[in-house]
């Protein structure tokens, strides 16, 4: 249980994209300005990244945010 809502958990391809480039979690973290633990938390879905961090990942991998993260396709418009 969290006192602060996490919102919908995002699935992501971060671990795959990182592995394709042969980067460690610390290296990816260093490239986007966060810690190794932060990369691990995002990869395992324990933390949904902020929009600025998602944009940094998007620029680093050269792909759209929606190509890295998947919210399950629910656009919230019913």
């Amino acid at each position: 249980m969290s006192f602060i809502p996490d919102g919908a958990k995002l699935k992501n391809r971060l671990r795959i994209l990182r592995a394709e480039r042969g980067w460690s979690q610390a290296e990816l973290g260093g490239r986007i300005g966060v810690s190794r633990q932060a990369v691990n938390a995002i990869e395992t879905g324990k933390h949904d990244p902020s929009l600025p961090l998602a944009f940094r990942l998007s620029r680093l991998f050269g792909m759209g945010i929606e190509e890295i993260f998947d919210d399950g396709g629910d656009d919230g418009r019913g």
Partner: protein
């Protein structure tokens, strides 16, 4: 805050070393804040030997002012320094932990007060309340850190 970034094409750096350096700086900040707390406690302990844990015994006003200023300075400076070392995940962990402690205070104190007024519990103790908030915040921080 940690926001320095670099592109995919740039040459690799010693990221593990950078990570270790960041951990060392965080530890140094925590130790420095602990040292300030220890110094404050030692000053009071030396001046108030025998009355340190006697809540009914007043302490010298000037001594309390000096230690309070020391405490406030350590918290403000330590927080500002620590903010530069943590990323958004750690910041969220600390926010949640603080929130858990605040929730305990907001709910726990009125409950204790009401149960005291009703004769079910002894009078609320501020030291116990403060310690409870600290312990709950610490436990919540550990939970969100290692879950």
């Amino acid at each position: 805050m940690m926001v320095a970034t670099m592109g995919a094409g740039e040459p690799p750096r010693d990221y593990e070393g950078i990570e270790r350096g960041r951990r060392r700086r965080k530890l140094a900040i925590v130790l420095a804040m602990g040292a300030v707390g220890g110094i404050g406690g030692a000053i009071i302990g030396a001046r108030e030997d025998g009355h340190l844990f006697d809540l009914a015994h007043p302490w010298p006003p000037l001594l309390c002012l000096v230690v309070a200023a020391l405490f406030l300075l350590a918290v403000v400076v330590g927080t500002l320094l620590m903010r530069r070392q943590v990323d958004e995940v750690e910041r969220m962990t600390k926010l949640r932990a603080t929130h858990a402690g605040a929730y305990l205070l907001l709910v726990g104190y009125p409950l204790w007060f009401l149960l005291w007024k009703g004769g079910f519990l002894p009078e609320p103790q501020h030291v116990a309340i403060y310690a409870s908030v600290l312990i709950v915040s610490l436990l919540a921080s550990l939970y969100y850190r290692f879950r």
